[in-house]
Every structure is written in C-alpha cells, then in structure tokens.
C-alpha cells in the first residue's frame, strides 16, 4: 500500500510546476516581479503573446501527461492491481493518432511564428525618400561592442554614419520613443550580444558583420542594456543604459552632446563636466 504513495510524488510535479508559474505570473509575495519585465516595444507585445500562447499550450499538455502518469501509477501499482497485466505490444491506431496530432500542433506553432520572426529580423522599416521612393530606413546610431563597453556613434544631422557631424558617447544610449528607430550594431573585438530585455530585442554582435535592429518604443524611461554573450572576464560589467525620451528632448540631448563634443575637440580644458 505504501508503494502506491510514490505515485503522489509524481502528482506533485504538475501541481507544483503549474503552481509556481501561476504564482509568479500573479506576482504576490514572495514572488513579486518574477515575470516578464515590462515591455515598452510595440513589437514586443507579439513576442509576449506568443510566449503566453506556447505557455498555455505546453501547460495543458504538461498537466494532462502529469495526471495521466499519476493515475496509471496509482491504478496499476502492483499492490493494487490484482488483474493480470494487459499483454499488449501497442496499438497501431493510437500510434498514428498521437503522431499526427502533435505534428499538426507543432507545425502550426512553427508557421504561426514566421510572420513575427520576419517582422523582427527581416522587415526593416521603410521610409519614403526625397524622390518618392520606398527605401530602408538608415540607422540613427551605431552601437559598437567592445570589451567591456558599448560605444555609441550617432549619425547626427545628416543622418549618415561616419561623417563629420557624428556624435559619440559610451554606454549611454538615448533614443526617441514613439517612432521607428533603426540601430546598426557592430563589434570591435569579440562576440557580444546586444540585449534590451524591456524591448524584447536581442542580437549577437559579430565582429566583421554589420547588423541592424529596429523597434518602436511605446514609453519613455530608462532601461538596461545587457551583454548576453560571453565576452571575457568582464562580461558582467558590460552594462549600458537606454534612455527613451520624446523627440524634442532627444534632439536637445543630442545637440547638447554635439556642442560638448565640439568643445572638447577644440578646447579640452573647457570640459567642465556640464552634464
């Protein structure tokens, strides 16, 4: 009889597993703030929804298989089941059913995700240029990963990188909210990964490759920039800060930065730390 109790042990897996997830999702003591960090990207909602969709789907399968396993162990434990074992080598029909059903679900998940993936990594925002043609949006800044900092180079007034009016800063990325923004990311030395948890964006930064990221922020505020690919002993220190602000404030900040930069180029002594 005590033997049967082991099946309860396995019943705890779906109960506690689902319990912990629900607890974290609801976010009450002691599990406050243990869910997806606040999303401030228009596109990030899609990722969050897909995540929740898969969570519910797998959650249902998790509960069903867990309870079925418990029930079989409970019912068919040797101490309980007096009947002779069901001598069977399987059922062709069942095998077909439980092959086709999951494959249909899995294929559906895969195809369902494709559009979101294309939006995230393939469909860079377009703009209409002076000649009325649709062209890809140029990056507002280039972010260069380097052991162990993010160097940021703004395209400046002319909208082109590597021109005279570029503006430089380190680890402090300011960007305008409420509009499409394109970033070029780049590495100077080893692999890094440019991770913005609150924008649901991540892209490995590969030396020798220029890559682009884009998003449309829905809020202002300051958020973490995380390096998510091992880049050496100081990997944990490679921390940046993303400040999302209104267009006017961003333009003003950039203009100030440019003025400060011109100052420091021509007269370094004049840099009196006006921040």
């Amino acid at each position: 009889m005590i033997d049967r109790a082991w099946s309860l042990f396995f019943l705890m897996v779906p109960i506690l597993g689902v319990g912990i997830f629900v607890w974290a999702m609801v976010g009450v003591y002691p599990m406050e703030g243990l869910w997806l960090p606040k999303n401030v990207n228009e596109y990030g909602v899609i990722i969050d929804n897909l995540f929740m969709f898969i969570l519910y789907l797998t959650g249902v399968i998790f509960i069903i298989t867990g309870i079925v396993m418990f029930w079989f162990l409970w019912k068919y434990s040797a101490s309980n089941n007096a009947e002779p074992v069901k001598f069977t080598h399987g059922s062709h029909m069942l095998e077909i059913i439980w092959s086709i059903l999951p494959s249909a679900v899995l294929l559906f998940i895969a195809i369902y995700q494709m559009n979101a993936w294309a939006d995230a990594k393939m469909r860079r925002p377009m703009v209409t240029n002076a000649d009325g043609e649709e062209v890809v949006m140029l990056p507002v800044a280039r972010v260069t990963g380097r052991q162990f900092e993010w160097r940021i180079q703004y395209a400046g007034a002319d909208g082109l990188l590597d021109t005279k009016d570029d503006v430089f800063t380190v680890n402090e990325l300011h960007l305008p909210a409420y509009e499409d923004v394109v970033l070029q990311i780049h590495s100077e030395d080893v692999l890094h990964s440019f991770f913005l948890p609150n924008l649901r964006l991540k892209q490995d930064v590969v030396p020798g490759m220029d890559q682009y990221m884009w998003f449309k922020a829905t809020e202002t505020g300051s958020f973490d920039i995380v390096c998510a690919e091992l880049c050496g002993w100081g990997h944990y220190k490679m921390r940046g800060q993303l400040t999302l602000e209104s267009r006017e404030r961003f333009d003003k900040w950039l203009a100030n930065l440019r003025a400060e930069q011109l100052l420091s180029v021509f007269d370094p002594a004049a840099d009196d730390g006006d921040e």
Binding site: I47, F51, G208, R239
Partner: protein, 597 residues
Amino acid sequence: MSAIPADSQRTETPRMSLSAFFTTYVFSKDHKIIGLQFLFSTLLWFLVGGLLALGIRWQLAFPWQDMPVIGNMLFAAEGGQISPEFYTTLFTMHATVMIFFVIIPILAGAFGNYLIPLMIGADDMAFPTLNMLSYWFMWPAFMLIGSSFFTPPYGAGGGWTSYPPLSVMTGAAPGSELAQTLWLLGITCVGVSSMMGSVNYLTTIIQMRAPGMTMFRLPLTIWAMFITALLQAFALPVLTAAGFMQVADRLLGTGFFIPEHLVVNNSIPASGGGQPLLWQHLFWFYSHPAVYIMILPAMGMVSDIISCFARKPVYGYKPMVYSISGIAGLGFIVWGHHMFVSGMNPVLGMTFMVATMMIALPSAVKTFNWLGTIWGGKVEFTTPMLFALSFVSMFIIGGLSGIFMAATPVDIFIHDTYFIVAHFHYVLFAGTAMAVFGAIYFWFPKMFGRMMNDTIGKVHFALTFIFLNGTFFTMHILGVVGFPRRLADPYPYKTFEHLQPMNEFMTYCAIAMVAVQILFVVNFIYSIFYGPRCGRNPWGANSLEWMAPSPPGHGNFDFQPVVYRGPYEYGSPEVDTDNYPQTQPPPPKDVPPTSEH
C-alpha cells in the same frame, strides 16, 4: 576493482602476478572491466563537476562574498572570494566536465561497453584492443583538461562552446592563453575515444548478435546505443576538424574564425579573413547531435527498466525504434536553432525552426509509449523504477520547455537566459543523470553480483528529486525575467536586482542536492563489498544479460544463448511465469524460433 572476481563462485586463485593484474584490471580488453573503468572514472568526474557547479551557485547567491571554510584555501589571492576570471573558468569547466567527462562517457563508455555484448549475447566486443584504447584515450583528455584548469594565469574561460574570437585571440581573456589550447586538445582526445567506441559498437551490434537475435529483438537500450554510435561516427569528424582549425588559428595564425580589423586588448591580430559564425556552424553540427548522444541511451535504458517493473511489454516497440531513428535523423538538421540570434541568415532561421519543432514529435511519441507501457501493468516501485519514472516526468518538462526556444520570436527574448539553462538541465540532469542513477541501481547486481540497498536508494531518489526541482525549476522563472547566463554578478542591472533571494534559495537546494549524493556513494561502495548476494536474475527480467552469471566471467555466457523472442515478453499468456526470457525455448507446439517477432 578487486571486488570483481572473474567468476561468481569467487574461486581462490593463487596470488596474481603483477603483469597478470595489469592485463586483467588495468589494461584489460574485457568489455566489462572497460565499462567499469569508464563508470568509476565518470562518477569521480561527476563529483568534480557537481562541486564546480556549487562554486557557480555560490557566486550567484552571494556575489563577491567570501566562501566559508574553503574560500581561503582556493582563492587566497582574492581574499577568499571568487574572481570574475575564475567565475568564467568555473562555468566553462562545469559544462566541459559534465558533458565530455560524465554524460557522454558514462552512457556510451560505461553502459554501452558493459551492456552491448551482454544484451546481444556476444562474448565480447568486436575489437577488444580498440575498446581498451578508447578508455585509455580518455586519460590524455583528463590530463589536458585538468591541467588547463590550473594553467596560469587562469583556466580556459571561453565557455564550453569556445566561441571565437574570444577563444582564439590569446589576449582576449586571461583564460585564452595556453589553457585554451590545452582545452581544445583535450576535447579532441575525447572525440578520438568516442570515435573508437562508436566504430566498435556499430560493428559489434551488426556482426555479433547471438543466433535468433534479429534487429527487432534487440532491447531498446541496444537500439539507442546503436543509433548513438551512428550519430557519433558521422558528427564527430566535424568537431575534430573544427577543433584543429581553432588550434591552427591559435598557434599557426591561419585565421579561419578571425575577421579583419579586430582590435583586441589594443592589439591587432596578425591574421584575418575568417568568420566567427563558421565555428558556430561547425561546433553545433556536432554538438546538437551530441545532445541526442547524451539522451538517447538514457531513453533506451529507461524503456528497459520501465518495462521490467511494469511487468508488461514496452508499448509500441517499433514506434520506439523509429522515434530513436527519427530523432537521430532530424538531429542533423536542427543545429541552427542554437544560432537564431547569432547573426545567421534569418531566412535559414525559419527552416531550422520547422525542423526543430518536428523533432519534438518523436520525443512526444516516446513519452506516450512510456505512459502506455505503465498502463495496465503491475508497477513495482523499486529504486531503479522510481528513477526511470522520474526520467519520464522530468523529460516532459525538458521537452516542453524546448518548444519555447524553438519558436524563433520567443527565442529572441529567452536565448542565453536562465530559461535555456533550466531547459538543458531538465534534459541532462533531471533526465539523463536520473536515468543513469536508475541504470546503476538496475544493473549493479549484474556488475558486482550483489544488490544495492533499496531503502537508502529510495531516500536518495526522493531527496535528489526534490532538490533538483528546487534548483532547476526556479531557473525557468529567472529566465522569464530575462536573467542572463554566464554573468558573474547580474544584480547591478535594474531588471535583475530583485532576483538575488531566489538565487539564494536555488543555491541552498543545489548544496543539499550534492550533499544527498553521499547516500549514493556510501550505498554504492558498501554494496560492492557487503551487499546481499544476488542470483543471475534478481529482477525477473527477460533480456540476455540476466541469463549470464552475476557478475559474468570472461566470455560472458556459460552457455550459447539462442534467442526466441523479443526482450519485453512480460506477462505473456504463453507461459505461466511472469517473465519469459529471450532464451527460454517456446512450448513445443509453438512456431520455430527463427520467425519474426
């Protein structure tokens, strides 16, 4: 090793000459001794890997705090705390040891070696000398990786994936100097060892089956070992080549993986023109199939154990075989799912997403068949059965969490977070390692002729199961918050600053989980010498190894095994007994033994 008499009767032989001792127990060509050598070596490394993990856990729970008692002995230079350089070495070595010195060799090396000839009814492997070499090639690997750990200034710190340029540029990290070269050469030696093993397993399984042992009468353990050997044979050459390319980049300046215009630590490398992503493709072309190398044999052994203790045939034997083959086949075209955000062509990402989703299918079929095996049986909750059941229960979690990563848009967020750390620990520790414990409890009587203590075994199971879930399930939650892997100190980030208490809880669970293994060690060692003696077939199983003496002598069988049926005929109406061994001739009126099962 003196506890392994050549015969169960423990015939007193006169004192063994030194050379005889060496050929019998050290440079032995007997597959059983080699299997045990693998088993003991890998269990020792398992301990090392577990302690390394505790180092990681300590730092995540109590960043930059002195480690009590042992801190000053280990890190006197840092005043008893883990330095960030050492932290990178810690997780690099934890993964390296666990993957290359524990999981792969304990499955293929220990159980593959021990079980293949016994379960197919052969007297030994096809190539005994090659078999011996496959074990002894592990030793250069042990020494190279071991010395890499202690090479000044710091041990290899490029992660177990050894991504260039970090791993190639000697100035990129303190651990990227000589230590990284030693690490690469060590991995190559493991590869050579595995390659020797896989050629041997394939030949043995194809050529040396006992009369009547058709391919579809093989136990699923053997099918899994067979497919695993195929995976190794086809995937390993790629890793070996890639490893030598990286060594050449480091020592000869070839620049396969180094692009131009790098500036690392203010110095410009001499070579260039390469592509870091090339390494990732080559590495994962091996290392993704290697993920299946690390789980398929466990699946096979679990099938055998569950069928034996449910006293019922495996549900859907052939679908099980096809699923193993399906996983292996698809396993070769899913490597790109490790690279969704690596900068690889995003169009390719879609292809890999579909292939990755589809590989969940055979895993699902296997799970349903395990549940089907339990259905209608008479389940005996012995220690091996509990571990095997926990494999199924935990593999469901590990399998389902894989779907999140396979979905490319979701992977953008959870890639390189603790969600993936949770996922692969559920597959590799909660899955494979638990299956390995089950397999040790199951086949221990065959290996040593004595039983392990069942009560201690159950306590060991229950505590391990509780603490492993305490350690690893919580990692999913960390991953949902976006907590990144491999950060020595994540708490300065605003997003992660509140996660320290949870990490502390996980660390306590991890320490308890490692401590509980003392029960296993004591039970294992005590039972080798003093466990109650068992007969040939203590579990009432069907497959051939249980027909041999316990432990089997040199040459395995004291009779010529002839196989009449598959290995899972428990509860067959043909006979009155509960089990129906493969070697038992059918009742007279039955069909001749050569007919297909």
